[in-house]
Symmetry: C2
Subunit: 150 residues, 2 copies
């Protein structure tokens, strides 16, 4: 499992994915999946507009990519970093993939899993940490929606 | 929106998808998305083993296929039929896709959305019906797991 002091480093990689999404006109959320040795196994950014597919969230793309890279469905020893609290769909996918650790940036009070679930959607052994570089992750979102209004 | 008396007909199409999954050694769950005029816009069966991807649930495949067929992300006037109560991931995707009506067969007391959520995961206007051909849908699952044990 990844050491805590490298969380910010990997979150910045997820933030780079989020900025890529913004550049493509997508709601700017990014994710990376990291192996126990610190290798990036999958990365993704929101592509729902480009693909015309509501399931193309950053986490879904990163999870699928990581599974392909590993040649297996389960990400038990891996950590997923995502800039915004996962939604119900992505939290469910993280549960099915048995992702070992989930680290997110800012909260999503409207659509985040924590306001929607009555029990943990993740694997029973999964660890969850929120609030990593939360202000910066939130600012990417705020800047994007501000730019849409202008 | 689809008339109620045709629910069984479309559920049988979803059941055919589920049996296809069983034939491929996959947990036998099937889904179809139907337009307001009764056209099948998307169909899917569980393919998590074949694709090595936990996100390849019947509903996810059917939703993505329907969106491609329609050329748009939203399925507001459509009905999704699925043989088993959707999991959290699929319920979340149904919410994002604003699917207008969700009809499922048997319940899933362990992984079904209704035991996992603290509020509706679907669009506020979505209608939900469970228990359509529930016994037959459940039997497809039971037969599959029994065959695995033999």
């Amino acid at each position: 499992m990844i050491e805590l002091d490298s969380d910010e480093r990997y979150m910045r990689m997820a933030m780079a994915e989020a900025r890529q999404a913004a550049a493509e006109g997508e709601v700017p959320i990014g994710a990376v999946v990291v192996s126990p040795r610190g290798r990036i196994l999958g990365r993704g950014h929101n592509q729902t507009e480009a693909l015309g597919d509501v399931t193309a969230h950053a986490e879904m793309i990163a999870i699928s990519a990581a599974a392909q890279a590993l040649g297996g469905k389960y990400l038990s020893d891996c950590t997923l970093y995502v800039t915004v609290e996962p939604c119900l769909m992505c939290a469910g996918a993280l549960g099915w993939s048995q992702t070992g650790r989930i680290v997110y940036g800012c909260e999503d009070p409207r659509r985040g899993f924590s306001t929607m679930t009555s029990r943990s959607p993740f694997h029973p052994k999964a660890k969850v940490a929120g609030g990593i570089l939360a202000d910066e992750c939130r600012r990417i979102m705020q800047d994007f929606f501000k730019s849409l209004r202008n």
